[in-house]
């Protein structure tokens, strides 16, 4: 450690090295779950994160990864704090994050509306062939934050990161 007090921007960059264990292309900053990084006396670091879904089991792994990256960067006092408020929504995801998701093969969140008593999603673009001619197979997918879709043009199934607004 060369600096007496570390720069919060540098610390944010360190925290951003941690990715979502289920979506390794997305950093926790891209995902919008990295809220703040604070530094206090003696370079004690506090990292504030928020869960995507209440039951998201990835939070434990993300916390451990945060302790690891800060430990490797030479910080001895690290605290990871979980906050519930304000509640995360997919609006917190960065544009860069959405682009990375699509490149990885997961359709990024779009929007949703209502048709009578049933909620309908806006058209979801196939991340492989970019067709909008896609169909929801199952609203609940491989993780809490995803739904399963299929493309009616290229016939490939794909994950869709659902809207939580």
């Amino acid at each position: 450690m060369s600096k007496l007090i570390a720069d919060t921007e540098d610390l944010f960059a360190i925290a951003s090295k941690v990715s979502d264990p289920e979506i390794p292309v997305l950093s926790i900053a891209d995902l919008g779950i990295l809220r703040e990084v604070n530094v206090g006396e003696g370079n004690a670091v506090q990292v504030v994160i928020t869960p995507t879904y209440s039951g998201c089991p990835a939070m434990d792994v993300i916390s451990e990864d945060l302790y690891k990256v800060f430990g490797e960067a030479g910080f001895e006092q690290v605290e990871v704090k979980l906050v519930l408020t304000p509640a995360w929504s997919t609006d917190w995801m960065t544009e860069e994050g959405k682009a990375k998701l699509e490149a990885y093969g997961i359709a990024p969140p779009t929007g949703k509306g209502h048709a009578g008593r049933v909620t309908l999603g806006m058209s979801v673009k196939c991340p492989r062939c970019h067709s909008l001619n896609t169909r929801e197979l199952a609203r609940f997918g491989s993780t809490s934050c995803k739904a399963l879709y299929t493309c009616k043009d290229c016939l490939e199934p794909f994950d869709y990161f659902k809207v939580l607004s």
């Binding site: 209440s54 039951g55 704090k81 519930l84 008593r117 049933v118 997918g141």
Partner: protein, 286 residues
Amino acid sequence: MNHDELDATLDSFGDALASATRVTPGNALRPEDIAVDGVAPSDEVAAYALTLGDDSLILAQRLSHWISRGPELEEDIALGNIALDVLGHARSFLTYAGLAMGKTEDDLAYWREEEEFTSLWMVEQPNGHFGVTIVRQLILSIYQHLLYSKLAESADETLAAIAAKAVKEVDYHRDHSIMWTIRLGLGTEESAEKMRHALEILWPYVDEMFLDEEIHRTLPEVAVLPSSLREDWDKEISAVLADAGLEIPATGQAMAHGRRGEHSEHLGYILAEMQVLARKHPGATW
């Protein structure tokens, strides 16, 4: 694990030795993660949070039984996801309640007896066939959506924060049960008959959900008065059932008082299965 190792493990819990049952040390939710500004709830607020946590915990336990037993893969995953969300709500509510009692979420889940659970009878009703689970979900997800929408305005900031997060998730659960209710109600004669049967066996536990208890009345700014949800709930579920070609059944109401620790015969079996590992192997880790 020998005795020395067990002692060392128990010691590692420090002040939380009352919490020697923490199944995944370090991974259980910490009270300071949940409570806004780390403020412990009053005994009354904790007792209220416990009722909400118990409803979610028992429902999550019931729903998770569908994992590997769903009628099709997508449904298996859907019910498993819903169970996970609901378990997440239980963890937040129980962790917060435990802050006033010096207990962790695991202490409250694994080391209380049947009469100490304050959950509603509706959540402990057996899964039955798929239609029964869907009707139970319809009843409860509409209820929880209304409840959490109001609780998000609670004077207790932590309960408001948990509810504001939960309501977004319950929105998806409600959609899921409404779509299935309509599909099965308007499906074949057999599916409609099974849905009518499901409504008949579950409806006796509806009134209890809207009973105002002492705990609600002592916390007018914090707790949502269950009776205040009834009108909107009736309106919403009647409309869904009408769309599905189904009707509210003419059944009597059970004398259910889960909030006072009086339960149906089902809860004991649920707890026996849920608690056996933690009780047989205290301090077990994996």
